[in-house]
Symmetry: C2
Subunit: 384 residues, 2 copies
Amino acid sequence: MAIISIPTEPSIIATEECGKNKIKNVLSITAGFSEVGNFKAEEKLKSIIKKYNINFIGPNCLGIIDSYSRLDMIFLPKIRLKRPEKGKVSFICQSGAIGSAVLDLLSAQGLGFSKFITYGNATTINETSLLEYLGKDKNTDVICMYIEGVREGRRFIDIAKKVSKNKPIIALKGGLTESGARATLSHTASLAGSSAVYDGAFKQAGIIKAEKLHELYEFAKILEKSPKPKGNRVQVITNGGGFGIITVDNIDKDGLKTSRISKKTELFLKKKLPKECIIHNPIDLTGGATTEQYDIAIKQCLNDKNIDILLVIVLMQTPLLDINVIDKIAGYNKKSKKPIVAVMTGGSFTESQKQRLESLGVPCYAYPSDAVKSIKAFCDYYKT
Amino acid sequence: MAIISIPTEPSIIATEECGKNKIKNVLSITAGFSEVGNFKAEEKLKSIIKKYNINFIGPNCLGIIDSYSRLDMIFLPKIRLKRPEKGKVSFICQSGAIGSAVLDLLSAQGLGFSKFITYGNATTINETSLLEYLGKDKNTDVICMYIEGVREGRRFIDIAKKVSKNKPIIALKGGLTESGARATLSHTASLAGSSAVYDGAFKQAGIIKAEKLHELYEFAKILEKSPKPKGNRVQVITNGGGFGIITVDNIDKDGLKTSRISKKTELFLKKKLPKECIIHNPIDLTGGATTEQYDIAIKQCLNDKNIDILLVIVLMQTPLLDINVIDKIAGYNKKSKKPIVAVMTGGSFTESQKQRLESLGVPCYAYPSDAVKSIKAFCDYYKT
């Protein structure tokens, strides 16, 4: 395999030399092709790639990473861009900058990745071929994409339709506004297309649309970690009343359902929990909550048929709550067929426990709005 | 001053003893009043407060902090809840949990606060009195609020109208949906009111509405740090093309304007910057960007009359960019009358530089969508 990172014209010659010397896999970081209007150079490159039948990624890309084979072709220094742990989420990214910033952020949060692929101008291998490839990759369960333009519209929809039946695809489309479209043209020479066309295409193809950068990986983590839900009735358990309220506000606003606990659950929890606790939706264990009370509430809710998904808010600022609550939640999550999602908001103490809970397999979010939006995308994918 | 944190009935007796002993300032953490339906106890407490003319905060609150006088009445341990540095943003919060989690998060990010006030059931001192007080407080420039219900609607609007003329007020209202409204009743005994009524009232009163928890402090930081903008034409400078694209997408979507640089700026930058740079909106310095190139671009844009606000995206993952870029941006921000806002996305290296830039006075955001939404709130406040 060759990595090319020399100026435009010499890079074309180097590609031809690869072909002559039977190097069939080439990745090119070199810029200066169609993205700056140099279509002639790109056509020349393309004809060489075709002539020698090279598997060619780029040009104008940032590289690729496979965390399983440990192939790392990203040219950015490790001190500035951490590399991720193994995981089951892969990321196809037309923009190197977006890919690398997200990768760096995720690695810092202890989240894993499978394959990370930037592909720049997509002279031959494009988003559709990569999607097809990841659809068959055994180390990939969820696919995230950032795209600026799609080259083979019809084929893209057909492939995505097939892949999305088995693996969720989450996509963020750049250039959906007038200003954005103008900018894509000079970035990766992409024709951005209209917002309505992409909305329709994504819907047809079963692609989950991300509106914001962070939604890409926030949606991905619940889809990677949680079992298929039976429905969209969400029960909130909290030790902060206000947090519970804004969470159920979000559940209503985003079109999910707040569950109504069974009479049996209500009576049981009223008996077992202190009288200041509020047994409703949210179940508010109040600032005096202990790990034992979380244990009682979670266990009972997992057995309640009126509840499909459990959203557990854990505010570690309160003094009576010890860190065993993390292990309790993770334990239930491992055994349960119901999805459990956590919200933890706070500084360094909270952050360390949140990362621990995440590494134990529970999708965790910093804000109720992010958690609820991710649950919504999750339910939409499973059509529940 | 007395802090009361004993059970409900004894707390009423203790309040009366404070009155008899001429202790005029009392804060009560005690729960078990109207929020659990015990209106009798709350009425009794209220009559004692009135009889002795006590300045009474609570009951059912978490405490208050003043980072200037160093008064700290929060009963949560410092290892779990960090205390903030001095700043000019104050926070009135009906929910202790929301207040403390946000405070913890902000302290970890190195952001400052002035006064932090939780007030629980608001038996006598309520959100309106607190708003009036902060309106006159010389250490408060921006007011954030989380409210579940407003007791004196008319007076609240009148006071807010006055205060918001000089100081931005940002408010998040809990209980705006059916599920949320049900929950507020059992949390702080608040009648939540309808969403439409609050939207109208906020508009009349000049209050900036936050839809999500993190918007409270994200809106606050630009309003605290940046000078009044002349208009809403935003110029993006980036070293990541994809980041630039999703940013201008957000600018279009959120109703701001992408600026069109003057011919003079265009010619100057085309001469001074490498040919692969794209001089448009965004100005894309590409992955090869250096501190010097940022310097040239920022300086020129600050002098361009077609630009009102500068949004600078700094991706620290690229190897040629050194950390002096932070000091350069901060230097221009100090001298300039145009607001400069930064977006920095990434792991620990990025995060440390982002905190440094923030501490030097530049509002920084992790995502383009958050930065743009905050600029929109900022422009709306100044009606530009």
